[in-house]
């Protein structure tokens, strides 16, 4: 299937000389939820801003459903809805006025039924005549989503949708995203909350210092890069590891009561059998053991660290 969004060789150098993006290539599949992960200043917002027309690219190209964002900007932008990171809303107009404005701006014929549905899906319907300034931060965030959806986009960009949002609202937001995906909208979200990507994304891209360093299925990524950790709880504490265990990558922890072993789930041999045998031979007895899969967060941190 042809990707709905195709970024190729995209670079951006700001006037200050700062290189925000370095030859980024990225393809987004129709209907997926794609999470773009990266630390602050990695280039997430610059990438989104170029695609949406807020920032001029320095080099490279972007096509949205085959339409170039520069030469066919009308067609390209019509397909895109953008929810910005900051809560940038008008203050004095009502929710209904602001989403009608958004729809008109994109050249769409009035459609009160559709807008009603958008507001209802976002639990904003009872606020439709409220001035935006009277709404809470979470409600304003929803208004921004409603504005982005007002022109029936096929791609929705959510730039840090849950930054500064409380836990409950964050869960609501995830729910909203899931519902949207069911209607066939492609969703690209940036975040530095890993749990968000873990929760929602089909695929994950990691961006660091203006470069996409990895793009993969979330499950695949976690399988491939996920390391497992085996912790053995000992009966009697050890001062140091016996020399007979030197061949294994071990750590002594928990005041000598724990031995931690890291292993790769992808490896042909996990080394567990020989470790347990060597432990037995050394006369080390343990009363419990547990294994833990590393989270996306740990994967991410090790990836970004590895680049520095």
């Amino acid at each position: 299937m042809q990707p709905i969004l195709n970024v190729s060789g995209l670079s951006k150098t700001y006037d200050s000389g700062f290189e925000a993006l370095k030859k980024v290539d990225l393809a987004i599949n129709r209907g997926e939820v794609f999470a773009l992960l990266g630390p602050n200043g990695a280039g997430k917002t610059t990438l989104i801003s170029i695609i949406c027309g807020l920032v001029n690219p320095s080099a490279g190209s972007v096509t949205v459903d085959g339409n170039d964002i520069l030469s066919d900007y009308r067609a390209a932008r019509s397909l895109i809805g953008l929810v910005p990171q900051e809560l940038t809303t008008d203050a004095f107009v009502t929710v209904w006025q602001t989403i009608s404005f958004s729809r008109g701006l994109f050249g769409k014929r009035k459609n009160p039924d559709y807008l009603e549905k958008v507001l209802k899906d976002l639990s904003l319907w009872d606020k439709k005549d409220a001035q935006i300034m009277t709404l809470s931060g979470g409600m304003k965030r929803r208004v921004l989503i409603a504005k982005a959806l007002a022109h029936e986009p096929q791609i929705l960009f959510l730039d840090e949708p849950t930054a500064g949002v409380d836990v409950e609202l964050r869960r609501d937001m995830w729910e909203v995203v899931r519902k949207l995906q069911q209607t066939g909208v492609t969703i690209i979200l940036t975040t530095h909350y890993i749990e968000e990507a873990e929760e929602m994304a089909d695929r994950v891209g990691v961006i660091s210092r203006g470069e996409i360093i990895l793009v993969d299925e979330k499950a695949e990524l976690m399988r491939k890069l996920g390391r497992k950790e085996l912790t053995l709880h000992l009966h009697d504490p050890l001062d140091s590891l016996p020399a007979s265990l030197n061949g294994h990558d071990l750590e002594l922890a928990g005041e000598g009561y724990e031995i931690v072993y890291h292993y790769d789930t992808q490896g042909e041999r996990t080394g567990i059998t020989s470790l347990l045998k060597d432990l037995g031979d050394a006369g080390i007895r343990f009363r419990d053991l547990q294994t833990k899969q590393s989270s996306l967060e740990e994967i991410f941190v090790s990836l970004v660290r590895g680049r520095k």
């Binding site: 900007y73 940038t88 809303t89 050249g107």
Partner: protein, 253 residues
């Protein structure tokens, strides 16, 4: 052409005027009316006629122009500066609309507002002084041309300004002196010869002179010169706006 977007911006901006009617319509009309009362009715009768026109009536075109300049600039400047300031401009930049459509929407609305204010002031002037309009079509033409040109200038200022102070700077420090010294209250023929020459470098002179001609058939400079100078200024403003969108100046990094 995204006509619906132009209409949307235009109506949204006009609605802003409706919401702030006291500030955007009533206040300029009242302050202009105060000039009519003081200079027209109160002391105007003690000042001799200028070019055969009563002083109270003589100052009407100049005062209208002065208010129009200020209103056009501040309306248009604020109209585009505010979305930039609060950040809502992201939506306009990400919408499928051309630079020209954005300008038509914002500048069109600002010019319409000034035009409405100008016409209200003209109607108000009738209560205080006896005015005649010899060339009503030309008067309207000057009115519209001025509103559009200075709304464009305001749009430019609204993009150039990166704080509220700059937003006020040009209207207060440049346009007000130019309007006062451009013959709002006197005929430039009343100045010493040297200052008459200096005054000719003030673009507002041509606006006021041409506009006054449409009322009383009297002008400090020829009507053709007035018109071409105003058009020239319009073209310069259009050129700057074109450059702004081409380079992304202060809009798109």
């Amino acid at each position: 052409m995204n006509l619906r977007a132009i209409q949307t911006i235009y109506l949204f901006e006009m609605d802003r005027m409706r919401r702030t009617v006291a500030q955007s319509v009533i206040s300029p009309v009242i302050s202009t009316a105060l000039y009519f009362i003081v200079f027209g009715s109160a002391i105007g009768s003690r000042i001799q006629q200028i070019d055969g026109v009563d002083y109270g009536a003589f100052i009407v075109p100049g005062l209208m122009m002065m208010t129009l300049l200020m209103q056009s600039i501040s309306n248009a400047a604020f109209g585009i500066y505010f979305p930039r300031f609060v950040g809502t401009v992201y939506e306009i930049l990400s919408a499928p609309i051309s630079a020209m459509e954005i300008v038509v929407g914002y500048v069109g609305a600002a010019a319409t507002k000034s035009l409405i204010i100008g016409l209200i002031i003209l109607a108000t002037a009738h209560f205080f002084v006896a005015i005649e309009i010899r060339h009503p079509v030309w008067m309207l033409a000057f009115l519209v041309l001025t509103c559009v040109t200075f709304s464009l200038l305001g749009f430019i200022i609204g993009i150039w300004a990166d704080n509220f102070e700059k937003l006020q700077l040009v209207p207060l420090l440049v346009v007000t002196p130019l309007a006062f010294l451009g013959g709002s209250f006197y005929s430039i023929k009343m100045l010493p010869e040297f200052w008459q020459t200096v005054t000719l470098f003030n673009p507002v002179v041509y606006l006021i002179s041409g506009f006054r001609w449409s009322f009383y058939g009297q002008a400090d400079v020829g009507i053709a010169v007035s018109l071409s100078m105003t058009f020239a200024f319009l073209v310069v403003c259009l050129g700057v706006v074109w450059w702004i969108f081409k380079t992304g100046y202060r809009m798109k990094p």
